[in-house]
């Protein structure tokens, strides 16, 4: 289940189609009248993190729904940049664990 932090989101400037809107495989992100991205039926989210990884300002995070994780649990952010993907998992005590993972080979042909 994704959450958009509107204090961080910059609406991708004045881009007509926002990055998260462009990428969501379920066509679940649209815009409100002010051009802010909105997730429509939140319960339809697959938690694939496509929007999380593509957000240029890391405004989107993923956590498990309350039905599944009653103690709030952990949240996750990710950023796909160049040939690496950067991940941060924050546990419920606020402790962070970071990962920098190779995602694309160099010398693509």
């Amino acid at each position: 289940m994704v959450t958009i932090d509107y204090n961080v989101c910059n609406r991708c400037g004045d881009a007509k189609e926002k990055r998260c809107e462009r990428i969501c495989p379920g066509d679940l992100i649209t815009q409100d009248e002010g051009g802010w991205p909105v997730v429509r039926p939140l319960e339809d989210c697959w938690a694939c993190t496509s929007c999380v990884k593509d957000c240029p300002v890391a405004a989107i995070s993923l956590r498990l729904p309350f039905q599944i994780e009653q103690d709030a649990g952990a949240s996750l952010k990710a950023s796909a940049r160049g040939d690496k993907t950067f991940w941060t998992i924050t546990d419920r005590k606020g402790e962070k664990e970071e990962f920098t993972l190779e995602a694309v080979r160099k010398n693509v042909s």
């Binding site: 958009i4 409100d32 319960e43 498990l64 649990g73 190779e102």
Partner: protein, 576 residues
């Protein structure tokens, strides 16, 4: 104004028609579709090749989350024959050997190709791929889908993103194109083609999912693979095979992350609530011990039924904060980020993850439900080829096998295209499809797609062997499902949608019902139990090789909508 509040969607009631002419049309830009497109442009750079994709090819279909393992590859010492023997044992001898062999022969080529396109693959010191289990390859595949999409772009393939296929166009018995609905613009795309490859994935959402509410889409299979790829062919009268071979996945409970790949990658054992590893005690004399896919799930169900549940994957040997645990988490991030969250929230759980079966899916990539095809991936409809999850008879193809099928389908489509000229499409047919597709927008009241979807999932769950009946089937229940489904389908003319997004959902639920009808007919027809949990008949509990070493196929009458069953032998040729 408050941020994040959704205003009603603005949409047009009148639909513009967009006509497109191409040589090869590929429906669905997932694993098989992307590979097919690149192959077509590589062989014939001048060919006009178009992908019609419901989402955006950068993150669509099964691979949207990524992969940490390519599950089908021939390591040194293995060959197509050994691969076939393995799949044959796993699927209790009912499969198309010719199709499986043709996949096995291409596996290593396509994996090397995708590595060249940018997929990071771990290697051993001697330069071979690092094995993960017997037939797997460990990959860093978080970005696999964008990598495939980039190869498509480099090959100058045309891509129609955000267009959902609604029906095939058939002229004089030949498939000559397809209709698509613009998910964002509500336009009707009429694509004429000299060859059509269907690669639109399998079907989820036929059965009630394991979670409800905000968790309802935390399912194993991509929730936007709704069976459209099958439904297009079913409605056009294509022959389909093995829809009774449902796929039930043994998964990490709640988040639906794979267990097989965790077991292989992290050396996890399946244990019951008492901490006992239980697979071994069933091995000695169990008739399906050679089929790990079914055996691992069935034994978990048996342990639960005996009061020794819940069952777990035991990962306690990883500890916390070790190198091994770190690698385990990296693997999860490449493929199942929700499982990484679950793991992070379970620090005091003693390193166990609870496991359970998923709701059933219809897929040709793990299972073998799909179009009945020949070895060149031709369906029973001239001009239509199938690859990947929609293609039947060849289970355990996974991503790499889907690439091989995409490659074969592209080659065949190019060869057969020859001098085919596509006829103009009858204006009446276009008008009728426009009416059908947009009708739910014009109704102010009626049945919402979500309600129809939940009705379908409830009846399939209760009468066609869903989670609530432990996947078990019997004739009386199935007959109720058979009676209910046509009535549900007939309510298509009551569906209402408040915008394009919901309109797509309305068309999707009809696709799901068409697939479900075929599933129920197949389940009724196979009067034995061949694949436990996938196809467990309480009224025919034994496997019967004398009678049922055969394929159950079907075809829908395009005029009456009646489904006819056709039996075929294992060599695929004889018709009864």
């Amino acid at each position: 104004m408050k941020v994040g509040q959704l205003a009603p969607e603005r949409y047009r009631m009148t639909t513009k028609v967009v006509n497109i002419d191409t040589d090869i049309l590929i429906i669905g830009g997932g694993a098989a579709g992307c590979y097919a497109a690149v192959e077509a442009k590589t062989l014939e750079p001048g060919v006009r090749c178009l992908i019609m994709e419901k989402a955006h090819i950068d993150r669509s279909g099964c691979l949207a989350m990524g992969l940490n393992s390519i599950n089908a590859y021939l390591h040194p010492g293995q060959d197509p024959g050994s691969y076939l023997n393995y799949v044959k044992k796993e699927f209790m001898d009912v499969l198309r050997e010719d199709l499986v062999l043709s996949i096995a022969e291409g596996l290593n080529d396509v994996v090397r190709k995708v590595e060249k396109w940018g997929l990071p693959i771990e290697k051993t010191n001697d330069g071979n791929y690092k094995p993960r289990g017997k037939r797997g390859v460990r990959v860093h595949g978080e970005r696999l889908k964008p990598i495939l999409a980039e190869a498509v772009r480099r090959s100058k393939v045309n891509v129609l993103n955000r267009v959902a296929a609604t029906n095939l166009i058939v002229s004089d018995g030949r498939v000559t194109g397809a209709f698509g609905l613009g998910v964002r613009d509500g336009q009707l795309y009429v694509v004429k083609a000299r060859g059509v490859i269907v690669a639109a994935g399998g079907a989820s959402g036929l059965y009630r999912p394991a979670n409800s509410g905000n968790g309802r889409h935390l399912i194993w299979y991509c929730p936007w693979n709704v069976g459209t790829g099958y439904a297009l062919g079913i409605r056009a009268g294509a022959e389909m095979t093995s829809f009774e071979n449902r796929f039930v996945a043994l998964r990490v409970k709640d988040v639906q992350a794979p267990t097989g790949t965790l077991a292989l990658g992290a050396g996890a054992k399946q244990i019951n609530a008492r901490g006992e590893p239980y697979l071994d005690k069933y091995y000695a004399d169990h008739p399906i011990r050679n089929s790990s896919t079914y055996f691992r799930l069935l034994t978990t169900m048996l342990e639960n039924a005996a009061g020794r549940g819940p069952c777990y994957l035991d990962l306690s040997h990883l500890g916390r904060g070790t190198k091994e645990e770190r690698q385990f988490k990296e693997d999860l991030l490449h493929m199942s980020p929700t499982a990484a969250l679950l793991w992070a929230g379970r620090k005091g759980s003693g390193g166990r993850l609870e496991i359970s079966g998923s709701e059933p899916y219809i897929v040709g990539g793990h299972g073998e439900a799909g179009y009945w095809i020949d070895v060149r991936r031709r369906t029973s409809l001239p001009g239509l080829y199938a690859a990947g999850d929609v293609a039947g008879g060849a289970p355990k193809k996974y991503a790499s096998g889907s690439w091989v099928e995409g490659r074969i389908a592209a080659r065949t489509a190019l060869e057969e295209m020859g001098s085919v000229e596509t006829p103009d499409i009858d204006a009446d047919i276009v008008e009728r499809e426009k009416e059908r597709v947009t009708a739910p927008l014009k109704r102010d009241t009626g049945i919402r797609p979500q309600d129809m979807e939940e009705r379908l999932q409830k009846l399939m769950d209760e009468y066609a062997g869903g989670l609530s009946t432990r996947y078990e089937l019997n004739e009386e229940r199935l007959l109720i499902a058979r009676d209910l489904l046509p009535g549900l389908r007939s309510h298509a003319d009551l569906l209402t949608a408040g915008g394009y997004h919901e309109l797509v959902s309305a068309l999707e639920v009809l696709d799901r019902i068409d697939v479900a009808r075929v599933v129920v007919e197949h389940l009724l027809y196979r009067k034995e139990t061949r694949w436990p949990c996938s196809q467990s008949r309480l009224d025919y509990p034994e496997r019967d090789d004398d009678r049922w070493l055969r394929f159950v196929n079907s075809m829908m009458d395009t005029k009456t909508g009646a489904i006819k069953i056709i039996e075929r032998g294992l060599n695929g040729n004889d018709r009864l």
